[in-house]
């Protein structure tokens, strides 16, 4: 514990060694060591095998489904999440608090429950499915169904990222814009929207990150047809069921790289936002 002298120069609260030691050991046991198994298993099959696995046509098709539909869902969440965050922060109307609490439902509702509920809503002979049937629109068991599930799962991220930022938006600049003769439309697009852009993009990125890895809510509504509605996480499970551990690890590795990239983008966006605030 002698090295603590340096780390705790500012004050001498006790427990540094104990808590940091416990945190590190626990984290290594639960997260880091199992993750290293993933890396080792990925490389154990050799480069050739890895490349063959991650570029197999069925796997590539699943990237399109997972990464592409997640993107669309995240963008739609961006539009509606922005509106919802604005309405929840700026307007006062009956039921606002309940609506605000409801935003977190996709966090709180187990994904399997969400999955079967959405399937029951959108299956051809059920609630919404029935309404859409005359127009020839099929949702459940198509890519549109995956989109619905991923939109559901990503909604809280955009709203919850934007809310505090809208809350802290100073009304002074809006007043200044109004004084200088800008109408509300101009003020919104030239003053408010640019100030919220980093938070909006962060929210969209977070929603995307969640959607890419989502499994529970998608497998029920997707139909899971190879090349059409099969997501990459499902392929990992399929490979595990065939005892193809290194194949599963290879796909897991690809997904991990994507998650890491999403994390980088979101951290970058936050740094950008902080920098802009620092300048402003």
């Amino acid at each position: 514990m002698r090295f603590l002298g340096k780390a705790t120069r500012r004050h001498a609260l006790p427990g540094f060694g104990l808590t940091l030691g416990y945190t590190t050991v626990y984290f290594c046991l639960i997260v880091l060591i199992p993750f290293s198994a993933l890396f080792l298993k990925t490389t154990s099959g050799g480069w050739e095998h890895f490349w063959q696995t991650v570029t197999a046509p069925r796997v590539v098709a699943s990237y399109g489904v997972s990464f592409g539909i997640s993107f669309l869902a995240a963008v739609v969440n961006g539009v509606f999440g922005f509106m919802a965050a604005w309405v929840l922060v700026r307007y006062r109307f009956p039921g606002r608090r309940i609506l605000d609490a409801m935003v977190d439902l996709p966090f709180a509702l187990p994904t399997a429950v969400a999955g079967i509920a959405l399937t029951a809503l959108y299956a051809p002979n059920d609630w919404i499915g029935e309404l859409l049937k005359p127009y020839g629109i099929k949702v459940a068991f198509t890519q549109l169904g995956i989109f619905v599930a991923l939109t559901f799962i990503g909604l809280p991220f955009v709203v919850r990222t934007l809310q505090p930022v809208i809350q802290n938006l100073s009304e002074d600049i809006e007043e200044a814009a109004a004084c200088l003769g800008a109408n509300r439309w101009n003020t919104f697009w030239r003053v408010i929207f640019p100030a919220l852009t980093p938070a909006l993009l962060t929210g969209i990125t977070l929603a995307y990150g969640r959607a890419v890895g989502e499994y529970g809510s998608v497998v029920f509504i997707a139909g899971n047809l190879p090349f059409k509605t099969e997501i990459t996480p499902l392929l990992i499970i399929t490979k595990l069921e065939q005892y193809d551990y290194s194949g599963a690890a290879a796909l897991g590795f690809v997904m991990l790289v994507v998650s890491f990239f999403v994390l980088l983008v979101s951290n970058g966006l936050q740094a950008w936002d902080n920098k802009r605030k620092g300048l402003g």
Partner: protein
């Protein structure tokens, strides 16, 4: 974007309206769109769970609840949460204490890494444990010789759940404890309190609502986790079946009313979680303001 077009209606401001507010028409339209979106994506899925659960009458609902496989699944879910939540609560407290009370090299990296389980697919959360403990995994053969089962058994389910839920308490506490600062703890220290006294009498009362918030979310995820648990469980009825997995089995056997019965229990849990969470959040914010 419907909201955008509605904003353009506000070119001619009404006299009573403040310059920094949208026109009433735009307001109503925006609120209506939000309500519609929420009804479609949040309210309807919730409503359909309860409607389907009772669609075949209360008899089927009660019969499913009395089925011993359902009871086994409920029991296992409670057991897993009873192990995972306390473990991750202690972890969250230790992490928040070390990361907010001290500065040290690698601190911000650790803060980022703690969130890792939230960033990766839950399926990967299960996969990594299969790669360690599975038949072809690191220690799999060694465990098999000694007839110790982790994968396709309860320990694997617990491990996967602990992995997936590990960030929740820490995430709830770190920003809160950072915002609260350490002046009160330091005052207690100067007055001669020891570490445990400071923790229990100064810190815990300050952070209790934030702690509760994290524990509630951790519990909700522990009881509802599907992807990670599905990978390691092996789906053995009555043995390694948690409630979400039981829902899947019933659903795939076309016992829809049964699946939705179990789902309705988890949906109730989600509603209770939302209420408690909102309350804890509100109290935590209040505490911070009074601070």
């Amino acid at each position: 974007m419907a909201g955008a077009t509605s904003l353009s209606l506000s070119v001619q401001p009404s006299p009573v309206r403040r310059a920094t507010a949208e026109s009433p028409v735009a307001k109503v339209i925006l609120i209506a769109i939000t309500l519609g979106f929420f009804a479609l994506f949040l309210l309807l899925p919730l409503a359909v769970v309860f409607q389907q659960a009772f669609s075949k009458g209360a008899d089927i609902f009660l019969k499913t609840l009395h089925d011993h496989y359902t009871l086994d699944a409920i029991w296992l879910t409670l057991l897993v949460a009873a192990i995972a939540v306390p473990l991750n609560t202690v972890f969250g407290l230790a992490a928040a204490w070390s990361l907010t009370r001290f500065r040290f090299p690698g601190r911000s990296l650790l803060i980022t890494l703690i969130d890792l389980p939230l960033w990766v697919s839950p399926v990967i959360g299960g996969l990594i444990y299969v790669l360690v403990f599975g038949a072809q995994g690191w220690v799999g053969p060694w465990l098999m010789e000694r007839d110790i089962r982790i994968i396709f058994a309860v320990p694997g389910i617990v491990l996967a759940t602990v992995f997936v839920t590990s960030p929740f308490v820490a995430r709830g506490l770190i920003p809160l404890m950072q915002a609260q600062g350490v002046s009160e703890e330091e005052a207690a220290l100067t007055l001669g309190a020891n570490g445990w006294q400071i923790f229990w009498r100064v810190t815990v009362p300050k952070i209790k609502w934030g702690l509760l918030y994290g524990v509630i979310l951790c519990n909700a995820r522990a009881m509802g986790e599907f992807g990670a648990v599905s990978v390691v469980s092996g789906h053995i009825r009555g043995k390694t079946n948690t409630m979400p997995l039981h829902i899947e089995i019933l659903y795939n056997e076309y016992q829809f009313a049964g699946a939705f019965t179990v789902a309705s229990l988890l949906a109730l849990l989600a509603l209770v979680t939302l209420i408690l969470k909102t309350y804890a959040e509100w109290r935590a914010a209040q505490n911070l303001r009074n601070h």
